[in-house]
């Protein structure tokens, strides 16, 4: 395959991923507030106390499942078990991109330490943005200094056939 053909194939794949995966998230493109909503804050108020309690239980249930999936994916990445981490990506992503492409998305310049789920922001029935604090170790070559750092990342997740999947950027 010539380099030009490689490029064309790549762009086609990107387009397909956009069509297959991102429509589920399209309605989430609201202006960025910068300050994430509190966990569960987007849940509409219920009309009565019993239904309110039921709704709260339902929200807590799916959020617990989602949180477990987020943590399990990162547990795999921290172990550098990319095959396991790959299994958390959306079915449409896996249909287009093999494991080795997924693996190629990760460098080794930081050491992933641990993850905390900070926020879960529902985006309709079957999508959510999960805010995580990712703790990493980074060895800065200029200063010969290993820094323990953290960064807040908003991860897009979708629910397909009752299961939560990570929406992989490509």
């Amino acid at each position: 395959m010539t380099p030009e053909m490689e490029g064309a194939v790549h762009l086609l794949r990107c387009l397909l991923v956009s069509l297959c995966v991102y429509p589920a998230m399209a309605y989430t493109a609201t202006p960025e507030s910068g300050v994430p909503a509190a966990e569960g804050s987007a849940v509409a108020p219920a009309e009565s106390a019993p239904s309110d309690a039921l709704a709260t239980e339902a929200v807590e249930a799916w959020q617990a499942v989602l949180k477990q999936r987020v943590m399990a994916r990162w547990d795999a990445l921290i172990r550098r078990d990319f095959e396991a981490a790959y299994s958390f990506t959306s079915p449409s992503y896996r249909a287009l991109f093999p494991l080795n492409v997924f693996k190629s998305k990760f460098g080794n310049k930081v050491a992933w330490r641990r993850v905390e789920v900070v926020t879960i922001e529902p985006k309709g029935e079957d999508a959510a943005t999960v805010g995580i604090d990712l703790h990493v170790g980074y060895h800065q070559p200029q200063s010969e200094q290993t820094l323990e750092m953290k960064t807040y990342i908003k991860e897009p997740w979708v629910r397909v056939d009752g299961q939560w999947w990570y929406v992989m950027k490509d």
Binding site: E32, G34, S104, M149
Partner: protein
């Protein structure tokens, strides 16, 4: 401290200026050829989508050096975070910014004295102030606007640590020197208090009064680290040498600060209206020397022209703009993928205009604007605003051309694009997005290739029609006298082959200097 090449440059500029200028000093602000100077411009920071940005500044001198650090957002260079770093002799300060649930946050594990205090657990950027309420400029008013931009570090003054028994004493400044027993500066609290006390300003200015002429002590580094994807790339800032002179003549004609250094206080925001005692200054408009740059033709040096009819050289932002002016920006790009083999390459370019706000942000009533009325040296150093913010094409905030203030939220300059592969084939700027016409609309611009956007910028422009899968590109600016720009290309390579680890690299741009004077 001054390195040899910079000294030669300064002397040569003095010779060059002698015939055309009334500035009787050898000092002229220039982009230091040896990456050491009085002011450092870090072309980009980002906390978007897992990126973290690390900064380091080294004081190579035997003096105590006070430095203003300022983070400016990418749209319109409004100040979003600033603080002072008091470097002891031969000291290094390091810190980094990353996103947290509270927005961009600065961290430091360093023991160097800073005003305000920065901790390893992080200090969030202040809530948006400089572009909301009465300061709106048409750009976003969100916290996320602070997620990317660029950083300037400007030497405010130097203190002699040995002058304990002679005037001026440096009792406060010497508090920045690290204790050999505790490893921390014992007098940092006193320095912090002093920089927030208007009654202490004259003492600080007196203590940091080592002549700044030809004193170029600052060197820097930066790194961009993507925590989620495990990439990093490092670079060096652009250093401006001889940014400020304390000699009597230079200060006599531009004595904004009363005492001839750039020491200002770090007052709370409640006292923000007082430009020259507060955190608004020094900025890149505080240069009190003329601009100079190496020329591509002639005898080697180009000197800034004088103001028409006065024989006096422009100082301030125009001097810095002159020193950084380029007609063309050149670097390499790649956008290649081989899914079967499991690798992909992608490039983003950063093109930052660090003095643009002093031309295009024309909202005098807003103290945060580049052309704020309180910024007196703008009025004296920049030509009067007419119909366009020359050399830039469009106001970001326009109070000139309409009865009402026009806040565009962008300020676009058309560019030309010559995009080559590695075998001479060329494409000329087709398929540019957004808008179709190649243009750069912000102060820190991210240019992607076929939507690469590895920096996850919120305001990318993209070159979509590529001439192959890798090559080089030449951006041309419209003004014959160029535009002041700094930046780099960052390239990532994703690879699963253990022999070729996934990695990113950062390469500073090459430039073509203008042969036409402003």
């Amino acid at each position: 401290m001054m390195n040899g090449k910079v000294k030669k440059l300064a002397l040569a500029v003095g010779v060059a200026l002698g015939g055309v200028s009334m500035v009787p000093t050898a000092q002229a602000v220039s982009a230091a050829q040896d990456n050491i100077g009085q002011a450092l411009i870090f072309p980009y920071y980002t906390v978007n989508s897992g990126w973290m940005s690390l900064f380091g500044v080294t004081n190579t001198s035997a003096n105590i050096v006070a430095v203003k650090v300022r983070f400016r957002e990418a749209y319109n260079s409004r100040d979003v975070l600033d603080f002072n770093v008091i470097l002891s002799p031969h000291d290094v300060w390091t810190g980094w910014v990353a996103e947290t649930a509270n927005g961009p946050t600065i961290f430091s594990e360093d023991t160097t004295c800073t005003v305000g205090t920065i901790t390893s657990s992080g200090v969030p950027f202040p809530s948006p102030t400089s572009y909301v309420g009465s300061a709106v400029d048409g750009g976003p008013t969100t916290v996320a606007r602070m997620n990317e931009g660029y950083v300037e570090m400007i030497m405010m003054g130097a203190a002699d640590p040995t002058s304990s028994t002679t005037l001026p004493t440096t009792a406060l400044a010497r508090g920045a020197i690290h204790s050999t027993t505790t490893g921390v500066p014992p007098g940092c609290d006193a320095l912090v208090n002093a920089f927030q006390d208007t009654a202490k300003l004259s003492q600080l200015r007196s203590e940091f009064s080592v002549p700044m002429a030809n004193l170029n002590p600052l060197s820097g580094t930066f790194s961009l680290v993507n925590g989620g994807e495990g990439y990093s790339a490092a670079g060096k800032p652009v250093a401006l040498a001889n940014f400020f002179s304390s000699d009597a003549t230079a200060c006599g004609t531009n004595n904004t600060f009363g005492v001839c250094n750039l020491i200002t206080l770090q007052l709370s925001q409640a006292a923000a209206g007082d430009f020259y005692r507060s955190w608004h200054e020094p900025s890149l408009s505080a240069a009190n020397t003329a601009g100079a740059r190496l020329a591509t033709t002639g005898t080697g040096l180009g000197a800034e022209p004088s103001i028409a009819g006065t024989g006096v050289n422009l100082t301030g932002a125009p001097a810095v703009s002159f020193a950084l002016a380029h007609t063309n920006v050149i670097n390499e790009w790649t956008r290649r993928t081989n899914p079967a083999a499991g690798w992909t390459t992608a490039s983003d370019w950063v093109v930052t205009f660090p003095t643009k706000n002093f031309y295009v942000d024309n909202k005098p009533s807003t103290e945060f604007a580049g052309r704020a009325a309180g910024r007196a040296n703008i009025a004296t150093a920049l030509p009067a605003v007419t119909t366009a913010p020359t050399p830039f094409a469009q106001f970001f905030v326009d109070t000139v051309n309409t009865p009402d203030v026009t806040t565009r939220g962008q300020s676009c300059d058309s560019i030309s694009i010559a995009l080559y592969n590695r075998e001479e084939a060329m494409a000329t700027g087709g398929g540019f997005s957004p808008g179709g016409t190649p243009q750069l609309c912000y102060e820190a611009n991210v240019l992607t290739f076929a939507g690469s956007n590895i920096l996850n910028s919120a305001i990318p422009a993209s070159v979509d029609s590529l001439s192959g899968t890798f090559g080089w590109m030449n951006i041309g600016f419209s003004p014959a006298s160029g535009l002041p720009a700094v930046g780099f290309s960052i390239t990532s390579r994703d690879d699963t082959n253990s022999a070729l680890l996934s990695e990113a690299g950062l390469v500073e741009h090459s430039y073509v200097a203008p042969t036409t004077l402003p």
